[in-house]
């Protein structure tokens, strides 16, 4: 952030989508990653690490105003050349079906690191969306967002979710 602060229009549009994608996609995937690690299921660890990294790329793209294609083949074309560190880590993952402990440890570390990097650049964090006590704070955040968008003459949030 510069000393001029963040652009309000970005925060209530692309930035908000980035935060929501983090809460909707990355956070649940990290929870799945913890479960896979607890079971020492190396195959699952690598497959879930890939889901975390793809979700980080989707959130990153949302922050740039880019929508993710629903077609998985078209999305692969984006992932193959996208220059973000998360996409690079995704390309370097081993194939899950033959993964052993060392593969799983590398994959899990990469996924957690990239998720942490993304979290550090979110404009704001939402409560964990699928937790029992998240409803009220999520509604409050949504109301504030809609009010700020209204002040800028922006319409309702155009939730993407084409690519998830």
């Amino acid at each position: 952030m510069t000393d001029e602060g963040l652009d309000l229009a970005w925060v209530v549009d692309h930035g908000a989508l980035m935060s929501w994608e983090y809460a909707l996609l990355v956070e649940p995937a990290l929870n799945d990653l913890d479960a896979a690690c607890e079971r020492a299921d190396f195959v699952l660890c690598v497959d879930v690490a890939a889901v975390v990294l793809r979700s980080v790329v989707i959130a990153d793209l949302a922050g740039q105003g880019l929508r993710t294609p629903a077609d998985p083949i078209a999305f692969h074309a984006m992932l193959a050349v996208h220059d973000s560190p998360a996409a690079g880590e995704l390309r370097d993952l081993p194939l899950a079906v033959t993964a052993g402990r060392a593969d799983a440890e590398l994959a899990v570390r990469a996924a957690r690191t990239q998720a942490e990097h993304l979290r550090a650049v979110l404009p704001f964090e939402l409560p964990v969306l699928r937790s029992r006590d998240s409803r009220a704070p999520t509604i409050r955040a949504t109301r504030t967002l809609l009010r700020l968008r209204d002040e800028l003459g922006l319409g309702p949030v155009d939730w993407p979710h084409e690519g998830t």
């Binding site: 929870n31 479960a35 079971r39 699952l44 879930v48 793809r54 993710t68 193959a80 079906v97 033959t98």
Partner: protein
């Protein structure tokens, strides 16, 4: 290798067994979703219903209720500390889905039984896959479909088309001279499409990228081939029964459905479905075998930017599938 079947696998799962994975009983989950039933019938769907999942998994319940015009939800409820995610659908929606494919022919391809029909879009296909593995919360509830083998053949068709398009893209990337990590990533993605096809042909339609490796493992699949390039893919494809075809001959380049032209002042632009504004776009259309010759890199990046789509030529593909065999 597990033999190819024509029925959806149930993996011997009952609601009681599936919910035991998350430490819950059927009556607890039934009580949690009771306020959303309104006379509807609840079914367990998702990873737990597919015989996967673990102690941290959410419980996904789909309710099929008479009198609804369209789906609603998700509604989040709790059974103890376990999240129960409820979505509701009109009671006749599974029957409508089945009717849409009732007249479809099928053919026995080397990789499995495949429907000669346009497969559903991604979202509908995922929903169909979840419903094919659905487990009723009440043991006396009727199955959602009367003939799930035809619907399985529809999902096999979808996976086959994805594999063909995935290979076409990986070949394009290689021909375009993309960096080795990019090209290798796309060959591995094509291989994952092939493994999805292999699982579906054996009756396992569990949705969700994260479960693919576990599904191959439980079906005792051999995934030992290293797939970094086309040679590796073809080696892995043989035992699966994936045909030796020229994917570029059965995949067309088409102007992207989401592309639109706008004029701003004295200039014309194209707006893509990915929310980018471009001054010019790729105007090539037709089979990849014809159009990719000139400048493969330009074509690849046009696909990446959403200017053009890779779509299957269904007539050409069905000619490959049928060969000299009769469709049933």
């Amino acid at each position: 290798m597990t033999p190819v079947g024509t029925a959806v696998r149930r993996f011997g799962i009952t609601a009681r067994e599936a919910l035991a994975v998350v430490g819950r009983r059927v009556d607890e989950v039934h009580a949690a979703v009771a306020s959303h039933l309104d006379g509807g019938e609840p079914y367990l769907v998702g990873s737990l219903a597919s015989g996967l999942g673990n102690e941290r998994s959410d419980v996904d319940v789909h309710v099929f209720r008479p009198g609804m015009k369209g789906p609603d939800g998700p509604h989040l409820c709790y059974a103890g500390e376990t999240l129960v995610d409820v979505e509701r659908f009109p009671a006749d929606r599974p029957g409508e889905m089945e009717s849409a494919y009732r007249s479809a022919s099928t053919v026995e391809a080397p990789f499995g039984r495949v429907a000669l029909v346009e497969p559903p879009d991604q979202r509908t296909g995922n929903r169909l896959a979840r419903w094919l593995h659905a487990v009723p919360l009440r043991t006396q509830a009727a199955p959602l479909f009367s003939d799930d083998s035809l619907l399985l053949a529809v999902l096999v068709r979808a996976a086959f088309e994805d594999t063909v398009r995935g290979v076409a893209l990986a070949r394009l990337a290689t021909a375009a001279g993309l960096s080795p990590p990019s090209s290798r990533f796309l060959w591995q993605a094509a291989y994952r499409c092939l493994l999805e096809l292999w699982c579906r042909a054996r009756g396992d339609v569990t949705p969700g990228e994260k479960w693919l490796g576990c599904r191959v493992r439980r079906l005792a699949g051999d995934a030992s081939t290293v797939v970094w390039d086309e040679a590796g893919f073809r080696t892995a494809a043989g035992p699966v029964g994936y045909p030796g075809i020229d994917e570029w001959a059965v995949v067309n380049l088409r102007r992207s459905a989401g592309l639109r032209q706008v004029s701003l002042g004295d200039r014309a632009f194209y707006v893509t479905a990915r929310r980018r504004v471009l001054a010019t776009v790729c105007d090539l259309t037709g089979p990849l075998a014809w159009v990719a010759g000139a400048d493969q890199a330009s074509v690849f990046h046009a696909v990446r930017r959403g200017e053009v789509d890779l779509v299957v030529d269904r007539v050409g593909l069905e000619a490959v599938l049928c060969g000299d065999r009769e469709a049933k």
